[in-house]
């Protein structure tokens, strides 16, 4: 059996997230599996690097699967893109080492949360940015962002109720980029809990709007209480940018 690694871009607007759910076809994973199943002539199941929420996008999600074929990967990539809808694209279709697994082999991920601060909307990227419509105090947000970069129990920055597994994660860096009227928050870490990026982004926005102090973002690490973090921002502002192996 050959092992394959897919790199996948998607506009998540009309999907119920990455992960296949029973028989519903309205997931990115489901659409890709349907296309691959048609190409290979038997059922193909793929392993993604992790879930993305309904409405969230990906510039480079990854997935792996095993299959036998003589077809070269260039041909496989053309075929799968021919079968996929216009809002999902396989941007790389590569042979992978035998032991590669898109979820189990992950060493890090990068997400971007995109905020649009102008009063007028961004007509071209309105599906990919959250229209805040207000200016942000970038200096204060950068101070806060530095306080979020740590190895810690991030359960207070998650929508998880309880977890049997460890909720300790390492956030390595958070960039606060000013790109014209867009403020882009770029999060890199070894992994992120459910809703963790959207809650960190919401908390940083509250700092940027002067609704809370820069220092207050450290409180959830002490209390482990979701109520001490900021609001969960909408899914459509979030993009999975990269997965590291």
């Amino acid at each position: 059996m050959n092992n394959y690694r897919l790199t996948i871009a998607y506009d998540g607007s009309r999907y119920s997230g990455w992960q296949r759910q029973g028989n519903t076809e309205n997931t990115v994973q489901g659409r890709i599996e349907t296309a691959l199943t048609e190409i290979f002539g038997h059922k193909i199941e793929i392993n993604g690097s992790g879930r993305t929420d309904a409405g969230t996008h990906a510039l480079a999600q990854t997935a792996s699967f095993r299959a036998d074929t003589e077809m070269p990967t260039e041909k496989l990539m053309d075929e799968v893109n021919r079968l996929l809808p216009g809002d999902i694209a396989v941007t790389a279709f590569d042979p992978a080492p035998e032991r590669f697994h898109a979820r189990l082999s992950v060493t890090g991920k990068t997400y971007a949360y995109r905020l649009w601060t102008a009063v007028y909307p961004n007509v071209f990227e309105r599906k990919f940015v959250y229209h805040l419509g207000k200016p942000l105090n970038i200096a204060e947000m950068k101070r806060s962002a530095a306080l979020l970069c740590r190895e810690a129990d991030f359960i207070g920055y998650s929508s998880l109720k309880k977890s049997k597994k460890s909720t300790v994660r390492t956030v390595r860096s958070i960039e606060v980029l000013e790109l014209g009227p867009e403020v882009r928050l770029v999060f890199n870490g070894d992994g992120f809990l459910y809703n963790m990026v959207r809650i960190m982004a919401g908390t940083l926005v509250e700092v940027g709007l002067g609704k809370r102090s820069a220092e207050s973002v450290a409180v959830p690490f002490e209390t482990l209480d979701r109520a001490d973090a900021g609001e969960t921002l909408p899914a459509h502002g979030l993009t999975l940018v990269n997965v590291e192996y």
Copy 2:
């Protein structure tokens, strides 16, 4: 009467172009006039810098109109954006000098034609780029582009059958930019004839694909024959980037 200048961004995908046509509401001009008419309480007609084709976009189209009101322009801008659909935005609403007219005062325009050369589609910007799916010879395209920069009769690079008005235009610059898998052609000139940018872009693409020589792009200036230029590329790859005054 106050004179106003609007700067307007639009995703032209679902419109029949800029220019209002009779009673149809499916134009960008029509949508903006409807919103302004509601704000001012009487019929408002605006003058755009020029038409854009059905399906073509604008980053900064301009328009002017006269009206009387005590309302400050910040408030007017908020109101008009509240009334406009999400794919049209007024990005600046400014008082203009008495003699300013968005069409008659134009001194230059910049258009971008965006080509996507990767075999896979651009899922995020698929409405704004033309998916060519093939590599282009950029050096040859740059040689050709330089030959198109001139003051000349551009009737051969237009879909106009005949014209009573002058069809002499000056193309000042054409940049050929490589932005990852995107090749962006940026045209600046004193004005452009009907379909002129889309035909120049189509001709440059034929050069980039090796279908014609770089030198051949000068032929339509001699023959004034549309048949000697390349094909008209689709409207959705074209964006009006800027209007100069």
